[in-house]
């Protein structure tokens, strides 16, 4: 099972992605506990703030999009842990999807 953090926005508009294979971690139980403690259902993004980061966090069927200012408590713990565990990959363009305007 992978946990994926995608950070976008910021003044530079750079996209950075971190991906951790939780099962392959020596402390997989701790990861499981942390992931289970996240309030996935009540996470709703607030009005965006100019030039702050936006985080999309996903794991299995769960996904949450949070502004940088909302990244507190267990969410902050998870993102810190992910960022300390793996090197990020950067892709300046977001993945393509069918156009509709």
């Amino acid at each position: 099972m992978d946990v994926v953090v995608v950070r976008s926005g910021g003044l530079a508009g750079l996209r950075t992605e971190w991906r951790v294979d939780v099962g392959a971690q020596p402390d997989a139980d701790e990861w499981d506990g942390l992931l289970r403690s996240l309030p996935w259902r009540t996470a709703t993004s607030t009005a965006p703030t100019p030039d702050r980061y936006v985080y999309r966090i996903s794991c299995a069927s769960h996904e949450a999009t949070l502004g940088e200012g909302q990244l507190t408590g267990p969410w902050r713990s998870l993102v810190d842990r992910v960022q300390q565990t793996v090197e990020p990959t950067r892709r300046s363009r977001p993945p393509a999807r069918p156009r509709s305007r």
Partner: protein, 353 residues
């Protein structure tokens, strides 16, 4: 003004220099009349050979710089207030100077005293977070990270970044463009426009000599790139092993449809950015005059919807150019041509009377 720092003799000299600097002269005359409310900039024909506002004419900001000390707690410790001497901390002093330059553009050229037009204090916090690769406007203040030292060298040393952040404040107090999708990209665009104009005004650069770069100072020498963004040539600002390539589109056909970055606000802003830079170069002279005044007019017109899309914004800029400079004017033609070049559909031209 009771707290004026400009000596009256200097104000009188500027007030008398109406031939070359009519706006600055008018502003100086206003300042000489103590307590007089500021008036909107009057309508004048565009003349590329002169600036109506004196680039070194003073304004009266009320600046407050705080030091977050490497934490994410805001505002941090207040370290420099208006009129106080330089601290020796480069980030503090650069932020102080940059806020002054930004205040001067809005005040001297557009007759707007600070973010809210009523002399609101300009507040900034520096040394935010650890290795923090960003700068942002939080609704009350500008916040600057120091960068990680490997890719980003810091943000407070970039005048265009300071102007950009403060302009987000101006947008919040005027058009309130919703910070997502096309209206969000317009919010970003307006912040880039006035961020760039702050630098051009401070350096006395014409549209031809300006770099049209945003954040030319933020990368370390290790990065293959000129800046965060190029308004004139979106998509060409950097091409680096670590950062990848500048993703900004330069044409409406290449609009990026995404939910990330609040709907691609920092990506699709390249399209209107190029329209503005092209219009300013076609008009010639100083971009804070002419096309800059047109964009400011739209921002404060009350006609721009919070959820406006590119096409609606483009139509308003053409209408504002016609209102200020006339139907057959070079400015109106330059603005229209800018939008057409980047593929944003605009309403058919009115016949010249």
């Amino acid at each position: 003004m009771p707290y004026a720092i400009v000596p009256p003799y200097l104000l009188r000299r500027v007030a008398a220099a109406g031939d070359h600097y009519p706006t600055a002269a008018a502003a100086a005359r206003r300042s000489l009349r103590a307590g007089a409310p500021s008036e909107p900039a009057p309508v004048r024909p565009f003349d590329p050979s002169q600036s109506y506002a004196l680039p070194d004419s003073p304004s009266q900001p009320d600046r407050r710089i705080s030091d977050a000390g490497g934490t994410t707690r805001l505002p941090g410790r207040l370290v420099r207030r208006e009129g106080e001497r330089a601290t020796g901390d480069e980030a503090v002093d650069d932020a102080y100077d940059g806020l002054g330059d930004t205040h001067r553009l809005f005040d001297q050229v557009y007759g707007r005293d600070s973010i809210d037009g009523r002399g609101m204090p300009l507040e900034a916090s520096v040394h935010y977070g650890r290795d923090y690769d960003n700068a942002f406007w939080d609704g009350a203040r500008m916040v600057f990270g120091d960068g990680d030292g490997e890719v980003f060298a810091g943000f407070a040393n970039s005048l265009t970044v300071i102007g950009h952040e403060l302009s987000h404040g101006v947008v919040e107090h005027t058009a309130r463009l919703r910070y997502e999708y096309q209206s969000g990209a317009l919010n970003e665009h307006v912040a880039d426009v006035f961020g760039s104009l702050v630098e051009q005004y401070a350096r006395g650069q014409s549209a031809e000599t300006a770099s049209w770069l945003v954040g030319a100072e933020v990368f370390t020498d290790a990065v293959e790139g000129r800046a965060l963004r190029s308004m004139l040539e979106p998509g060409t600002a950097y091409d680096d092993d670590v950062l990848g390539r500048d993703p900004q589109p330069a044409h409406f056909d290449d609009f990026i449809d995404t939910d990330e970055d609040n709907g691609g606000v920092h990506l699709n802003s390249g399209i209107p950015n190029r329209a503005f830079a092209l219009a300013a170069r076609a008009a010639g002279g100083f971009a804070w005059e002419g096309v800059g005044r047109v964009w400011y007019d739209v921002l404060v017109s009350g006609e721009l919807a919070e959820n406006a899309k590119f096409a609606a914004f483009a139509d308003l800029t053409i209408a504002a150019a016609v209102r200020r400079y006339g139907v057959g004017s070079a400015i109106a033609a330059a603005v229209r041509s800018g939008w057409e070049t980047v593929g944003v559909p605009v309403a058919a031209a009115e016949p010249a009377r």
